[in-house]
């Protein structure tokens, strides 16, 4: 499973939604991605990939693509 596929699974599970199954998505387009779920999914991503993001990064990881990029750079 690719990093994107794993990250997608974690994000969707935390948000409690089924999709989208492909392509990028983020806080701008997903109404369920609120401030509370954002914090929860960032920590879930950190646990899944054994990475740690800085406080400054946390706010900027507002889309699947941004999250995947940050995981790869960690």
């Amino acid at each position: 499973m690719t990093t994107e596929e794993r990250a997608r699974q974690v994000v969707l599970a935390t948000l409690g939604i089924d999709g989208p199954a492909t392509g990028d998505f983020g806080r701008e387009t997903v109404s369920a991605w609120d401030s509370l779920k954002h914090v929860a999914l960032i920590f879930a991503i950190e646990d899944e990939f054994e990475v740690q993001f800085s406080e400054e990064q946390m706010a900027s990881l507002a889309s699947l693509s941004a999250i995947v990029e940050a995981i790869d750079a960690a």
Partner: protein, 195 residues
Amino acid sequence: MRHNLHIEGQAFRLRPVTADDGAAILALRNQPELSRFINATSADPADQRAWLERYYQREGDYYFIVEGRDGAFEGTIALYDVDAEMGTAEWGRWILRPNSLAAVESALLLYRLAFDRLRLETVYCRTVAANIAVVSFHNSCGLESCGTLAGGFERDSVQHDLIEQRLRREYWPAVEAKLAGLAAAVARRRSRSAK
């Protein structure tokens, strides 16, 4: 109303609004991306001072600055229309600077004021229906949806529906546990980032 309530959290805290906060509040409330779903705010500092003076006279209205434990300004939040007899209050004026991580803990601290200090039975909030992120936040916390107030908010001559959500005391322990867990995780992260 003038009050001296300070509510400390792990990473953030609530302190009473003072006249010295006027400029920061004005700047926050007039940011286009933050102001769409709130009452229009005059950019005139004199109007802000006058509003605060009226607020100081209003019983049952607790307005706070949300700030980091280091004093860094994050935003505002308030509990108002406190009805001690009915045990109810509304909360709002919740505006945080872009990219703030204070949302979870500021809500937690506000609820602790309402349920633990003021011993209220129900706290409710009314959010513009189009403010989907905030409506979702309240749902994610575990608040109950009470219904829609059609045309309950007007801005720029356009009427918007309001979604009313509430938290009753019987559900507060579960909500507190959820918010406190996330707030603690944010606090640990901020502590590490500060080193």
